[in-house]
């Protein structure tokens, strides 16, 4: 018998729905302007990682439930992201090998627009998170010295989502270095996307930057 088309494959269906996907994608990628990422690969004790995620998560939930979008809410959001996300680290990772060959001006340009795109996307999707709650579960050590903190996000009328927050030590401060949603690393996904875009656009970093600028302008 011939089944009616299913566009996606069953396992992709296990992927999170819009909200979590977008929030996680943007949370990781919401890159603020943190100049110079410091030394890496310091071990993070799991109790510290749990405290860090619990605190940041509670603050984020408070901002989300503040109500409608407003300049104040955006600022509060940006403050949390800038403080708790390893912005430059994520940006660098997503550019992969192209970071090395970029000029300092291109790097700066790229990080700026990266930040703009992600903050925009984050604020656009926050409304879907009204009423979100989270529970913090176990931690898993990672080979890079970081720790993945498992959480379950629950939103009204949605199936719960498993989200892992990778906590790393950047120059003595704990930061979120990646978000893993239902087994998919958001920063790896982003890097693959950029790599493919660059490959199809003559490995021209300026083309990527222009495309990101168009995205951040809302086109």
């Amino acid at each position: 018998m011939f089944e009616i088309p299913k566009l996606e494959v069953r396992k992709i269906a296990a992927m999170p729905r819009r909200g979590v996907f977008a929030l996680a994608m943007t949370a990781v990628l919401a890159v603020g302007m943190m100049a110079g990422s410091a030394a890496r690969a310091q071990t993070v004790p799991s109790s510290q990682a749990i405290d860090f995620i619990t605190k940041a998560g509670n603050q984020l939930v408070a901002v989300i439930n503040q109500g409608a979008d407003s300049p104040a809410r955006r600022q509060a959001l940006q403050a949390i992201v800038n403080r708790d996300v390893d912005i430059s680290g994520v940006a660098k990772f997503c550019l992969g090998r192209f970071w090395r060959t970029a000029t300092p001006a291109q790097q700066q340009d790229y990080v700026n627009v990266f930040h703009a795109v992600m903050m925009r996307s984050l604020t656009a999707n926050l409304g879907d998170y009204q009423g979100v709650t989270f529970t913090v579960g176990q931690t898993l050590p990672r080979s890079d010295g970081g720790v993945a903190v498992q959480t379950v996000l629950t939103r009204p009328n949605n199936a719960p989502n498993n989200v892992q927050w990778v906590v790393i030590n950047v120059g003595g401060a704990l930061k979120v270095g990646d978000v893993i949603v239902e087994g998919t690393s958001m920063k790896l996904t982003k890097r693959n996307e950029y790599a493919s875009y660059l490959q199809n656009n003559g490995n021209d970093l300026n083309a990527l930057i222009a495309a990101l600028k168009a995205q951040s302008a809302g086109s």
Partner: protein
């Protein structure tokens, strides 16, 4: 098409298309630059030009047919009263395939859970409309033959975009065909009524799965500069992580 032929239509079609994708049409040229080569290997998508063509066709089909249908389905049916019970019904009907894979994966406890869930939900749960078993503490899990092959040591192979079905790889594509053949509902019954019922089940399954993907797919399209590459990456990571979880899953 006579019933017997129709049963084999889908698997045959898929194999032919799969073979076509591999052998008949364009493959990407391997880059010589070491950095480019590393990127090429990471993508593991030697048939990318062909895959992208298929993706484009799938995407067009989706934009003009599947997605609007799924949106309509969402618009006219209440989530808790209609869509979720229907989803549970479809999931329950797949229990025999799940059970078979649990056993083939050497997970007797999971197989027992699947069996028990099927019995309880088919009776007390009114054919699966209600997940009574989960309320009693026996939660649902997934299993498919692609995973089973992975546990047996079969590598996934390069990325493949299947016509209509979307992202896959040779291992998972074969897994799909085996799951289809393993399903008693593929074989039970003869005659027009059964054939119609199979069409309806297939149609509703497609609708259900697409509806559940609406938000995710919309988000990918909105945020990705290259949705094909994003979906390829997500598919592979998601499969790898569920297979890893399965490997770590202790079931004597």
């Amino acid at each position: 098409m006579p019933g017997e032929a129709r049963r084999w239509f889908l698997p045959t079609l898929m194999s032919v298309l799969l073979a076509g994708a591999f052998f008949l049409t364009g493959c990407a040229t391997k880059p010589t630059d070491p950095d480019d080569l590393a990127a090429y290997n990471e993508a593991d998508d030697p048939a990318e030009p062909t895959n992208r063509v298929i993706y484009k066709i799938n995407d067009t089909l989706d934009t003009y047919a599947m997605r609007p249908l799924a949106e309509g389905y969402r618009a006219i049916t209440p989530q808790h009263l209609v869509r979720e019970p229907i989803h549970r019904l479809l999931v329950n009907a797949e229990s025999p395939v799940l059970f078979g894979n649990d056993l083939l994966q050497g997970k007797p406890r999971r197989a027992a859970a699947t069996f028990w869930r099927f019995v309880v939900n088919s009776t007390l749960g009114l054919g699966g409309l209600f997940d009574v078993a989960a309320k009693a503490g026996v939660k649902a899990h997934d299993a498919d033959f692609g995973e089973t092959l992975a546990l047996w040591g079969v590598p996934d192979g390069p990325f493949v975009e299947l016509p209509v079905y979307g992202p896959s790889n040779p291992r998972d594509a074969i897994g799909r065909c085996v799951d289809f053949a393993m399903d008693p509902l593929t074989w039970i019954g003869n005659g027009a009524a059964y054939t119609d019922a199979r069409w309806v089940r297939g149609g509703v399954t497609g609708l259900d799965q697409r509806e559940r993907m609406l938000d995710t797919m919309d988000a990918i399209k909105k945020t990705s500069l290259d949705p094909y590459a994003t979906i390829r990456s997500l598919y592979r990571q998601n499969r790898d992580s569920s297979i890893d979880a399965l490997r770590g899953h202790d079931d004597p």
